[in-house]
Amino acid sequence: MAGYIEFQNVSKFYKMGGQRISALDDMNFEIAKGEFCVIVGPSGAGKTTLLNILGGMDRCDEGRVYLDGREIGGLDTRGLTEYRRYDVGFVFQFYNLVQNLTALENVELASEICRDPLDCRAVLREVGLEDRMDNFPAQLSGGEQQRVAIARALAKNPKVLLCDEPTGALDYSTGKTILQLLHDTCRRFGKTVIVITHNQAIVPMADKVISVKNGKAVRVEINNDPEPIERIEW
């Protein structure tokens, strides 16, 4: 199966002072449709840059990036916005909910602008927030907030769910349930889920693990038998 998502010789440079630093250096990998993929690496390995490019927030300087057969590396600003709008669901480390909107409204905020959104209430029910739809973020726990964020990303019905350290701000058990939720989402909705993290511990649950180091995908492992979340501990 050809890669649903493909990075081909992607490089990204930053200028710092007079020096050119490459954040991504000739990176190559593929992710298949419906895969639960974990991109893992230490700080400064280029994870954020990778995320930015994959999330349509930034462009690469060299190489090509494909999603579902479409080249996104060469999109203009508007194209990138459309890409983010229709193709990517984003889950942030700090949830990034709009404080002034209820859980439901936060989900609606995203679904408003999509072509083919899912029913917001249904999605919220799906993530287990049936009773908290009308609560404001401040009234929700961290885990609940992250659920809202996942629901918000899901409701857009995107091609890929991009999660940036989704458990980073959560305690251990809550983090686990969130990962479970993401995993379930991947399986039940058939979504491609990409989790970017520095936490090696969650690697076993992934279908594919891409290890990043110094701007390169140093290792791509396919895990044919991912371990259930409950069994993973860190």
Binding site: N96, V98, L101, K156
Partner: protein
Amino acid sequence: MTRRSIRGSLSRFLSILSIIALGAGFLAGLISSTPDMQKTADKYFVSHNAYDYDITGTLGLTAGDIKAISGLSEVDKVMPVYKRDMTVENYADKEKYTVRMTAFDFAARNSDDFINRSDLLKGRYPEKDNECVLEISNIYTSNHKLGEELTISKDDRDYDEIRGDFKYKKFRVVGIVRTPMFISAHGEVTTAGDGSVMLGVYVRKQACKASVYTDAYVTLTGADKLSRFSDDYSDLVSSDKTVLKDLGRERSSIRSREVIGRAQQKVDKVEKKYQKKKAETSSQLADAAYKINAGKQKLNSSEDKIKASEAALKEQSSSVDAKEDQLDALDKKLAAGQAYVDQLKQLRDSGAALTEEQTAAVEAYDSGMAQLSAGRTAIASARSRISAAYKKLAKAQAAIDSSRAELAAQESKYLQARAKAEKSFAGAEKKLRDAQDEVDKIKNAKWYLNSFEDSVGFSNYKSDVDKVSAVAKVFPVFFFLVAVLVALTTMTRLIDEERELIGTLKSLGYSRRKIMQYYMSYALEASAGGCVIGMALGFPLFPKIIGNAYTMMYDLPATETEFIWKYAVVIGLVMIISILGTTYLACARTLRERPAMLLLPEAPSPGKRILLERIGPLWRRLSFTRKVTCRNLFRYKKRFLMTIIGVAGCFALLITGFGVRDSIGDIVHKQYDELFHYDFTVEVTNDKWTAKDKTLADTLGNKDLVKSYISYFSDKAHTEDTKGKDMDINVISPQNDAAFTDFVTLRSRSTGKNVPFGRNSAVINEKAAESIGAKTGDKVKFTLSSDKSITVKITGITENYVASYLYLGDNVYSAPNHRHLMVKMAKGADNDKVMEKLLDSSRVSYVVSTEYVKSNFADSVKSINYIVIVLIVCAGALAVIVLYNLTNVNICERKKELATIKVLGFFDREVSAYIFREINMLAGIGILFGVPVGIWLHKFVIRTVEVNSVMFGQNIEWPSYLYAAGLTVLFTIFVNLIMRRKIKDIDMVESMKAND
């Protein structure tokens, strides 16, 4: 560190700086406008040695008077002049002007003692006696040029007197000057011409032939050290008035005695001469009469004698007749005896002797015969004697008759002479009586003390300047407050944003003082910098703009501005202290928290349901994004309020600006198109013109020129206003009460209903009614110019904007004359032509064209546009800065939120809309709030700037609301455009950040 922090958020620093600069500058500028304008004027008055009093002597001022005045210790300098208000004509443009002609000693114009020194603006000073320089009270509306010639008009009531006082009647304009005597476009009050002097004409002293001065300009000791706008000056002027008044009384009685004595002497001399001549003539006449009488008596006595002689003759003749009768009887007797005697004789002759008897008979007969004949002779002689006497008598009678005729001729001559003499005596006596009357009529001399303070020019300027200060109190204070609030929000925001930094510094062991110092110095730099920039611009800029706007109405040098330290320090201190104070509070609040807490992001203010959500049907109807907007609006209350205050203020300023233009532009249209329907007012010297003045009657009867006219009585009355001040009002009493409302619409401004006018009506205009505190039904006392007082019951109050009017019906006041006319032009007739035709009549003393008055007035209110522009610019600056600041804060505070929705795939347009919808909605709400504020502000401004006799419209026309709203929207859009960039530049990476 501060420096770096400033550079790091330059736009924020600049926005604090600029709002402070705007607030401080505007406040400083407007507050200093009044003192600057006053100082400029004062400086001008002092440097030009402006008078404090103008003393006018009704019988002139003599050298003695001048000496007496200068002898007063209260008086600094005296300059006597010959001054006369008169009408002059310019043949070239056929215009008549009421001018004040003053004869000066130009040679002394630079000496210290010269009062009312002039600035030569154009041309040169007069070198010949038939040259003059002009002073134009409003150079912007004048079309006077060098080289034009002004001729003393024969129309002037006192033409002969005036003409006699000047060497020439025609003066050529060789220069244009400016003096402190005429500073207002309103002109000075006079009794000559049309009642208002707009033009000063200055000629050489030598051009004047008058023997005494009319006026003395006086400066008071110590006055040059006082501002003429100060109460001290008023006090000085009024305390010195008593002294001058006392001197005036004393000198006036001397002058009266002098003038009256001299006149009396003249009359007495003439009378003496007359009496002498009368005596002479009378005695001559008496002589003649005596002679005639003597002649008459003599003649009479002669006649009497003749008559006596005649009577004697008659007697004699009758006695002769008697004798003759006797003789005739004798004759008859003899004749009867004759025959017998004859017989006897024959007998005797015959010799017969006769008897004795017969002889006796014959003898008797013969003696009888002899006796008869003798008798007859005697009678004849007597008769001839008598007839001779008769003849003599007749001759005497004829002589008498001729003498008598002669005498009669003499007598008639005498009578004629006497009648003539008597007539001439009567004439002479009447002349003498008249002359005496004239002398008796000479009013005792009186000094009029016209203070500089009370001159129309200065008093108007003073009150206008006061108005500026009243306006200055409201606007900039409002600006100042907004500026402080905006600066505060921004500072608070800065501290909130940097709580992490504060936390870090604190945890690193920096003392609270040190950290505080950093923020305080940031605030200090922003506020002090803003104050310096603002005041550096505000002090010179605003007074200049405002002063120059007023200069349109006044002939004064351009306003000089200065940096007023007193204000600068106060404004600066208040500004800096309030900003430092709140910075301190915000900082202290943050610093109180433990460093650990500070390192954590401040808990975002939680979302809240808003009231609107409880109105289900309405809430459900709103689109999702609108719901978000609504909720956000109420989430940030401080910002919400600030924006609304800012926008409301901007909108209010704009409404005020446009409204002021409406109100003032309005009155020209309302007064001269809606209320006054006549095209001309005409004054005729005498109200019997209908019969006598064919020229005027023809013009008025010409249907091609004149549609209709009405005659009325006009007078200037005065009454007391509620403050006890004298207030002038024009009294108009039409001859035909019923037709009057065709010429002047009387209506109530509030209801628009017509105010009825009839024989029993007394209608007063609104502003005057307000000034004297009169309501319909009140009785008000007015004093007419003849000093006669009338008390009228007000029957109605009418809309009126320019000047004050009291309209009286016939029964309320029976006018002594109706020698004024309101004339309506025929449709399509030419204004100038009709005017010319009306002026053709020699009985017309003046014609005023409504069109002319209207355009003049319209010109003079044009300066208001400057104020409108100032207001618009300020409002714009206010709106832009407030909106910019708040939007900036809004965006900074919600950077992460915005970055997030960007990541969610919102287009830039949608992200902008997400923020701008709030701002626009706030702007909309601000506009709504601005409406009442604007209406109030407009009313306040109008009330403040209203001149006594003028009432400005109170209406704001709906286009003004549109303009104001349009501009506010434009300013908002402008800010949106600036901010759009900023939103676009928000990095999506922000969304990944933890803090906030």
